[in-house]
């Protein structure tokens, strides 16, 4: 499934134990509509899946509004019973995520293969 708003778009891919969200474009306030309002994250992922993977490899820019959106999704994982993973982040954004505490709730890996290995393990 693919959704788009103002140059930012997401595609959802399912796998046995979770879903992958391929993010594309700048992650700013405009992305909030697509990411937050398209589903109630506190209800969890579909079909009892409990692994959410965010692919940032095609996200060139993230601002504080985008970070706020990510915090709400990640935080909802506690009620929604899912764990959040991420890959494709530059070292700079990984540092920003660490600064705001996102890395306490979101595990960051270099690529999709590494995340899948972690989940399978």
């Amino acid at each position: 499934m693919r959704m788009q708003n103002n140059g930012f778009e997401v595609q959802y891919r399912g796998f046995e134990r979770g879903i992958i969200i391929d993010l594309q474009g700048d992650l700013t306030k405009q992305a909030e509509e697509i990411l937050l309002h398209s589903r109630n994250w506190e209800n969890g992922l579909d079909d009892g899946k409990n692994h959410l993977i965010l692919n940032f490899s095609r996200v060139p820019y993230i601002n504080s509004s985008g970070i706020a959106t990510l915090i709400r999704i990640v935080r909802a994982g506690t009620k929604g019973n899912y764990h959040t993973f991420a890959y494709g982040l530059s070292s700079h954004y990984e540092k920003l995520f660490r600064m705001v505490g996102l890395t306490e709730y979101m595990m960051i890996y270099p690529d999709e293969y590494a995340v899948m290995q972690r989940i399978a393990g």
């Binding site: 504080s64 970070i67 706020a68 915090i71 935080r75 700079h92 920003l96 600064m99 705001v100 505490g101």
Partner: protein, 131 residues
């Protein structure tokens, strides 16, 4: 931001901190547009850059009424507080304060407010009071 990137390259500024500068300035400008100028298209945001001996100093001017910088020394506590909010916003200033060496809200001779952001050269943190 392209102009600032180019200016930093000419100013002998460590490339390892360039992304910090661009992020901090981007957030400062967003705050200036949204909060300082209240999204009024007729109001302007001005960014100046000064290359000093030990630091690069940016000033972000808007046409608003200024604000009080939130305390950052209790960064950990402030962060936990924000995570508990139902709609956790306002990370811009938080990031600016962590990425920059010093941040101050100042007023110029005309009574207009600006945000002054300091980045030390040569990887050294600077005190805004130093010349």
């Amino acid at each position: 931001m392209r102009e600032i990137d180019a200016a930093l390259s000419q100013a002998d500024f460590p490339s390892s901190r360039k992304d910090d500068v661009l992020t901090a300035l981007s957030e400062a400008c967003l705050n200036a547009i949204e909060h300082g100028n209240r999204l009024d298209n007729s109001r302007r945001v001005k960014v100046t850059m000064q290359d000093r001996d030990a630091a690069i100093v940016f000033r972000v001017h808007d046409q608003g009424r200024g604000f009080e910088l939130p305390r950052t020394e209790a960064g950990g506590a402030r962060m936990k507080e924000k995570w508990g909010e139902s709609n956790p916003r306002g990370w811009g200033l938080f990031l600016i304060s962590l990425l920059a060496d010093d941040v101050r809200v100042m007023k110029n001779e005309d009574g207009q407010f600006y945000l002054e952001i300091h980045f030390g050269k040569n990887g050294k943190r600077v005190d805004a009071h130093a010349k």
